[in-house]
Amino acid sequence: MRRQAFLAALLGALACAKGGPSPELLAVARAPDASPSDALALGQALQAAKLDATSIGPLRTAAASPGPAQAVAIDALLAAQARLDDQLLVPAFLAAHPDLRPSTPELQERALLLRGLELQRTGALEEAEKVLRRIPAGSPLAPRARYALGIVLSDPRRPGGPRMQAALDELQAVLDYGGGGCEGTETRALAQLAIARLLYGLRQDSASAAAYDRVPRDSRVWAESLFERGYPRFRMGDDGGALGTVHATQAPQLRDAFLPEARILEATVLFHACLYLETRGILDGFTGTYRPLSERLRTLVERRASAAEEVALVTDPAQRASLGEGLGQSLLAEPRIAAGLRLLRTLDAERAQLTSVGAGGAALEQLDGVREEAEQATAQSIHARLAEVSASLRDLLEQADVLRFEMTKGEKELLDADVDQRKLLAARSLPSLPTGGPADERWRVDGEWWSDEIGFQRATLKDGCPAQKATPSVR
């Protein structure tokens, strides 16, 4: 086995020097089903030829079989995962083989993290918690692990119930880690958003709003945080702040964000002030946009298209555009979907590389196997997200109907009380807008959307409710 691995490595190095894999290189390894050592040799040869994605197939075979090849294979598999940033196949493999132990502490921590994230994703929360806790606080992977642990601890499905304070402590600890490059920055932004959500769940509205404000503007989740922070503001009684922040999600700069719920919150704030005309305008716009999309999605989800069709829904620009209203772009931005698509692209590039040198046989078989799995996993993620969006849109459309019903009730009550709301509103003046402090810049909103102003909009709105009538309680 050692001789064969050496030969494969040597030929691999030669292949690299020539700029690509050679047929000879790939011919040295026999079909990986023969033995774990053969599978390892093929995996190593593929890695040496920079065919990391294809190497996942034989390396998994070798790693799954007890024997001397196992430890080497798991190390090589983790190396390929790190280079590819694969979030689908290797994590799933590790979760399915909890006893595999890489050779170095660093690789062991990585394996634990990947396993923990996969367990969390699949809902095995108790296991995920145990695994994630095994990653030491000083590890470079600790921020990601502690973020995931925070999410697990706050999950209502957690056996024994959620532990909010412990979750907040873990998430807060994530913010104290510096560095980590793009991944570190993203993890801190996610932790900040999670803290804001947990605080809102704990009804600490003021702290929640402040935590939402701290989500970095350049993070992937900023648009989401922008809309969500309307909730604590609304519940605090800051209707102007809530309306301002939610309204800002209409900015063209955020066109790639999929935030249908923002329109419902906007309508709710307006309804709370008995501004029925404005509420109706928002709801009509919402229904006009999202009912057709909801119907399209329902068909898509129920049809259970093939994996290739579901992937094409996101990768084909025309099909993606047909989803409309930022949904296509938001699917592309989903980390798991993005990782799946990236892996598929890599596999396609590797296929082209292999076929260009006339290599076939075992390597191509391995590649096809890996690709099929990757496509299935990506399609599952896309399908799950579409199903989630479809269900959410149905809920939101129902909420829109409830708001319409409540509005009709409110209008009837006005008629019964002989109140002409138009006259009432004309008689009332707009409350003055907040002026801010000396270090605040005040800008008029005149139809332009300036990137730096998004998130700083404030609104003032008249109260259209008759004085003697208590405002509808929707908070």
């Binding site: 309306l243 301002g244 309204h247 209409q250 900015a251 063209p252 700069q253 307006l270 501004l275 005309l277 404005e278 305008g281 928002i282 009509d284 716009g285 509103l425 707009l430 807008l433 907040p434 002026t435 801010g436 000396p438 270090a439 605040d440 810049e441 005040r442 800008w443 008029r444 909103v445 005149d446 139809g447 332009e448 959307w449 300036w450 990137s451 730096d452 102003e453 700083f456 909009q457 404030r458 609104a459 003032t460 709105l461 008249k462 259209g464």
Partner: protein, 289 residues
């Protein structure tokens, strides 16, 4: 965006900040109003700004031409108000082309009070930033403020005695320290946390009659002139402030400086007074600390 912002946008860049969004159902509502309340990305309060204006040309001059360099220290007490201290040094001051032509073609010299030139000075002034704006440039947002300031200080002045001719360059006599008032307006553009660019128009105003030249009043100059015609300037009998040395010796070109006495005497005897404006365009580059 302010009107000034729009103006700058159109004239300088002509770029829309973003494409037009879809119609907003709340846009025309009389019951809802929006405003942006944005924290200043680079607050100014309690910060110090140092600005160098290396080449300041005088504009609209009649009888004199000044080129000067200036250094401005501004303490921003609040976001809107600051205090500026501005020393300046005039490194080129001479009779204007108009004045020179007047003299050479029709032998008509400008009145002495109108020919006094600034040599150096320092002014202090409160600064007010009543308007702020911003515009997009190179994918970013540039913020600017419109500033107004007015204040006072002192400046050293001089007057040309002999004009530049074949004998040698012009000679000058000091007309003493004078009060200088100042006022101006301009734009201050902030580039990031630290850097600023200022473009201002500033008027340095000084006035008064020419009653002394090189510290010598009319009586002193009369005495010196008599001494000159009777053999040589000794300086006997003149007041202690009179700088007799300025009228003694020769210039590098061989010009006998005692000849300046009669010119100085004529200018002092002219009388009258004038208000003089040195209006300059100050392009400055600053750093905020």
């Amino acid at each position: 965006m302010s009107v000034l912002g729009a103006l700058l946008l159109v004239t300088a860049l002509g770029a829309d900040p973003e494409p037009t969004p879809p119609p907003d159902p709340l846009a025309g509502s009389p019951n809802v109003q929006f405003r942006v309340l944005e924290p200043k990305p680079f607050p100014d309060a309690l910060r110090h700004e140092l600005t160098l204006q290396p080449f300041v040309p005088q504009i609209g001059s009649t009888f004199t031409t000044h080129w000067l360099s200036s250094f401005t220290y501004t303490f921003h007490a609040t976001e809107w108000l600051g205090l500026r201290l501005q020393p300046f040094w005039v490194w080129h001051a001479q009779r204007s082309r108009f004045s020179s032509e007047l003299l050479s073609r029709v032998r008509q010299d400008a009145a002495a009070p109108s020919s006094v030139m600034l040599q150096w000075g320092a002014v202090a002034a409160p600064e007010w930033s009543p308007i702020r704006g911003k515009f997009t440039a190179f994918g970013g947002t540039v913020r600017y403020g419109f500033v107004l300031f007015a204040g006072a200080g002192v400046g050293g002045t001089e007057i040309e005695l002999k004009t530049a001719d074949s004998v040698g360059p012009a000679t000058y006599g000091s007309t003493g320290l004078r009060m200088v008032a100042t006022g101006g307006a301009g734009f201050r553009v902030q580039l990031g946390q630290r850097w600023t660019v200022r473009l201002e128009v500033q008027d340095l105003i000084h006035w008064g009659s020419v009653s002394h030249i090189n510290g010598c009043n009319a009586t002193d100059l009369h005495t010196l002139d008599q001494q000159r015609t009777s053999g040589g300037i000794t300086g006997a009998g003149v007041s202690s402030q009179c700088n007799v040395g300025a009228f003694q010796g020769t210039t590098g070109g061989g010009y006998d400086r005692s000849n300046d006495v009669s010119i100085a005497q004529a200018k002092v005897n002219e009388g009258g007074s004038d208000t003089l404006h040195v209006v300059g365009v100050y392009l400055g580059f600053g750093v905020e600390l």
